[in-house]
């Protein structure tokens, strides 16, 4: 048998043309985004520590699409259109959410095209009026604590802390701060005037600014709630 080269090319072209037609799915294109809010004000959280889960039933196996809230309380998903159930699982987040019984309830979300959905939550505490004062390399902060939940579900303050970092990711995690000042909840005498001071260490490479936030740890809750991020020039 004799091979004819142009037949091979022809065959290859036919196969390629046939297979090119439709070999991938459309990517998801609908954006679902929003913030975790209380009284219209976004909550400040630790980066990537508060998960938000979406479930879509009807596709055989069950599993969550998990995203996390950003530092400023915002979140976003890129999804296919459809009906989803949204939940912030378990004891996550420094707040109570959609909770009539012992367990948290889910929220039905119907996605068709881009949409914004703010999730209403009730934080245990809020840090308000954080005023920063830099003198030399010492940073002093003055703030108020607002106890939002005062009924049977109220929780105590475990500690408050001032965190300072080189980047805008500021938290209690190892890479979230270069300096911090802690105060135990039991040492807080007045909720309306709490002061913390921390010293910025020498930075390499040098930079003349830092980012600061105040975090509050609630007893029995893993995630902290923070004050808004502030950039301070030394």
């Amino acid at each position: 048998m004799k091979f004819k080269f142009h037949y091979i090319i022809l065959m290859a072209l036919i196969i390629m043309a046939a297979s090119c037609k439709k070999d991938t799915f459309e990517p998801p294109q609908s954006t679902l985004k929003g913030r975790l809010v209380y009284n219209g004000q976004a909550l400040n959280l630790e980066y990537a520590q508060v998960p938000i889960q979406l479930y879509q039933s009807g596709f055989g196996k069950k599993g969550a699409i998990t995203g996390t809230a950003a530092q400023d309380g915002s979140y976003s998903f890129l999804l296919f259109n459809g009906d989803y159930k949204l939940i912030i699982p378990g004891a996550q987040g420094p707040f109570r959410w959609n909770q009539t019984t012992g367990d948290r309830d889910s929220l039905s979300v119907s996605v068709s095209g881009d949409q914004t959905l703010d999730l209403q939550v009730t934080p245990y505490y809020l840090i308000e009026n954080a005023q920063y004062n830099a003198s030399g390399r010492d940073i002093t902060v003055n703030f108020n604590i607002n106890k939002v939940i005062i009924d049977a579900n109220a929780k105590d303050i475990e500690s408050v802390a001032l965190y300072i970092n080189k980047t805008q990711f500021v938290s209690g995690a190892g890479d979230g701060n270069i300096a911090n000042a802690n105060m135990a909840g039991t040492d807080i005498t007045s909720m309306n005037n709490v002061t913390l001071t921390a010293t910025v260490p020498n930075l390499t490479p040098t930079q003349n600014y830092v980012f600061v936030r105040v975090g509050l740890k609630i007893a029995g809750v893993e995630d902290m709630i923070f004050s808004p991020l502030q950039k301070i020039t030394l």
Binding site: K62, G63, P89, G90, D175, E222
Partner: protein, 620 residues
């Protein structure tokens, strides 16, 4: 044409002739042993049970690889490809999980078939069944430590068209512990009561597992109260606090059974006069003089059952396999935790009260007067291994006070940095200043890939049983008994001044230094609910490292190094002496952060969607 006719006819004849007798083709397979044959001969049953033994799960194990020992800042991985251990800032929720119901099914089938067998004699049969149940209890213990309450499957399941009847919900965490304790109680008398039975289940092993399991359940009940969010409403995770004392009493009773000699003669190993060598030999001596090891995973040179622990972790300068060495480097964190002989805690003294360096004539002088287990667990700078001293030197300090790590020592042709390092980032040598000594095989050839090592991995040993008894009686309020037990362990380590009072912190400390690198760290920290406090994600400074030693809640998030430098300053009385510096290696960028969701490992979505009766873990 004629030929074809003949061939056709003879073929037809052949076919018809051979079809006649069907039994002719019905031969027994030679590569599969049928069940009834298998369970007719004790030697064949032993090969089945050997497979079940081989499949046991350990957290750290000599055949799990060196990296199974390295986490939790007790050691530094001196292999650049494994630097993630010290670079990550958290553990995934699925870390440490296990869900091997295939193994449980195989054990259940084994128990059922052995029970049904009529050809075995009664004694063999009872022992085999007991071994099957021992291994099943052992794996359920492994499951409950990692996953909390799991579905209890105690017989082999058969699918008959109905999936739902096979879907079993999770049992309560306490029910799984109760199952383990009841199983072990039921079988203990069917197992040999001899301290010479080490690699197969024995009565002593059953008691040892009972004491550990009951102790875990008791402490989860007691200390679980401090983390109320690590529970599930159905108690699949979490044990009610009221059950704590019942479990502690069982732990004490089981430990006492071993101590009183009801399971054979077990005792602490005290064969060698040098206490550090003696402690190292606990793990090396497999002869009948070792009455300390209760249940081991055994290895044998010349078979496939050997391990590479010595190959991977031998000192670089004494290596028998070139650069295949030096990976597991114990950290300064664990080294300084070994207390002084007067029962006090102190950091390794590198500087005096004015902050000036202390000069030592010999490298090992800085570690003088400490718990003998330190040199038995960790290979200190200047230790002898396989006939010569290891060469650990980070460089030298000159008269001007500069630390120099390049070139040669002044006036010599010896490199400034020792053959064993330490140098930041130089892998396969120590980077912390220490090598591991526990399990490291001193036999010539053990460091070669072609031979490897047959040092056994001890799963249960007598010293742990004593510590279990001490902890259980302390929690039950009997401090006198607890002191008696814990002081026995300490006296063997050279801490001959007995403790006169006991605290929770003391017990945590004693287990840490006695049992480090034996796979206890994670589970101990979990059951005491200390893990999220000790591994809190905060970075550490040298000042942090040196303070609060001996406190149960001292955070331990980053491994530190202790680097020896030679002081070279002719004309100074300190010339030729050693000074030491604490160093945080450049790769140590993460800090261990144990979240509440890490207390019980994630059950994968795949398992959850196959069995909707299984509830998710808390805080994930």
């Amino acid at each position: 044409m004629k030929k074809i006719f003949i061939i056709t006819i003879s073929a037809a004849l052949l076919i018809t002739a051979s079809c006649k007798d069907n039994d002719f083709l019905d031969i027994e397979p030679r590569d599969v042993v049928p069940t009834d044959k298998m369970f007719s001969d004790p030697a064949l049953v032993l090969s089945v049970v050997a497979d079940l033994y081989q499949r046991q799960l350990d957290f750290s194990g000599l055949d799990n690889g060196w990296a199974s020992f390295v986490d939790f800042s007790e050691a530094y991985p001196s292999e650049n490809g494994s630097a993630f251990f010290v670079q990550r800032s958290n553990w995934g929720f699925s870390e440490w999980n296990t869900w091997d119901y295939g193994y449980i099914r195989d054990i259940n089938l084994f128990i059922e078939r052995a029970t049904a067998s009529t050809a075995l004699n009664e004694g063999d049969k009872r022992r085999f069944i007991a071994e099957g149940r021992f291994l099943r209890a052992s794996y359920y213990f492994e499951l409950v430590k990692r996953m909390g309450g799991v579905p209890l499957i105690t017989n082999s399941l058969t699918y008959e068209g109905d999936v739902e009847s096979l879907q079993t919900p999770r049992s309560k965490e306490s029910e799984v512990y109760d199952f383990i304790l009841n199983e072990l109680t039921a079988i203990k008398n069917d197992l040999p009561a001899s301290s010479d039975t080490k690699s197969r289940a024995s009565k002593g092993a059953a008691f040892a597992m009972m004491s550990r399991a009951a102790l875990y359940a008791g402490s989860i009940a007691k200390y679980g109260a401090t983390t109320p969010s690590v529970t599930l409403p159905g108690n699949e995770v979490g044990i009610p606090a009221a059950m704590a004392n019942g479990y502690y009493a069982k732990a004490l009773a089981a430990a006492d059974s071993i101590i009183e000699g009801k399971a054979g003669s077990y005792s602490l190993y005290t064969s060698l006069p040098n206490l550090s060598d003696n402690f190292a030999a606990v793990f090396l001596d497999k002869s009948s003089t070792n009455h300390e090891s209760i249940y081991i995973e055994d290895f044998k040179v010349g078979t496939n059952k050997v391990h590479s622990f010595t190959v991977n972790n031998q000192p670089y300068s004494r290596s028998e396999e070139g650069a295949d060495a030096g990976r597991l480097n114990p950290s300064l964190n664990i080294v300084e935790a070994f207390e002084k002989l007067d029962n006090t805690y102190a950091p390794i003294p590198t500087t005096d009260e004015n902050g000036d360096p202390i000069y030592y004539a010999n490298q090992q002088d800085i570690f003088a007067g400490r718990d003998a287990r330190l040199a038995g667990t960790v290979m200190l700078p200047g230790s002898i291994f396989k006939g010569a001293a290891i060469d650990v030197r980070a460089g030298y300090q000159n008269a001007a006070g500069d630390f120099v790590s390049s070139g040669n020592l002044p006036g010599t042709s010896t490199s400034a940095v020792g053959l064993d390092g330490p140098s930041d980032g130089l892998e396969f040598r120590t980077q912390t200043g220490f090598y591991i000594r526990k399990y490291l095989d001193p036999v010539t050839g053990s460091g070669r890939r072609g031979r490897r090592s047959d040092v056994a991995f001890i799963r249960y040993r007598y010293a742990e049983v004593l510590l279990n008894a001490a902890e259980a009686s302390f929690e039950l309020g009997d401090e006198g008994t607890a002191l008696n037990y814990i002081n026995q362990v300490r006296a063997r380590a050279g801490l001959t001044t007995p403790l006169t009072s006991l605290s929770f912190d003391r017990i945590v400390h004693e287990r840490r230094v006695e049992l480090v690198f034996e796979g206890h760290t994670l589970f101990d920290m979990k059951r005491w609910r200390l893990a999220h406090r000790v591994w809190d994600g905060q970075t550490m400074t040298v000042a942090d490292l040196k303070s609060n030693i001996g406190s149960a809640t001292k955070h331990n998030t980053q491994p530190f190094s202790l680097w020896p430098y030679l002081y070279v300053n002719p004309g100074s009385p300190n010339n030729g002496k050693w000074i030491f510096r604490e160093v945080k290696l450049s790769r140590v960028t993460g800090a261990n952060r144990f979240q509440l969701g890490n207390y019980y490992s994630q059950i994968s979505d795949d398992i959850l969607s196959r069995n909707p009766k299984i509830v998710k873990q808390p805080n994930q």
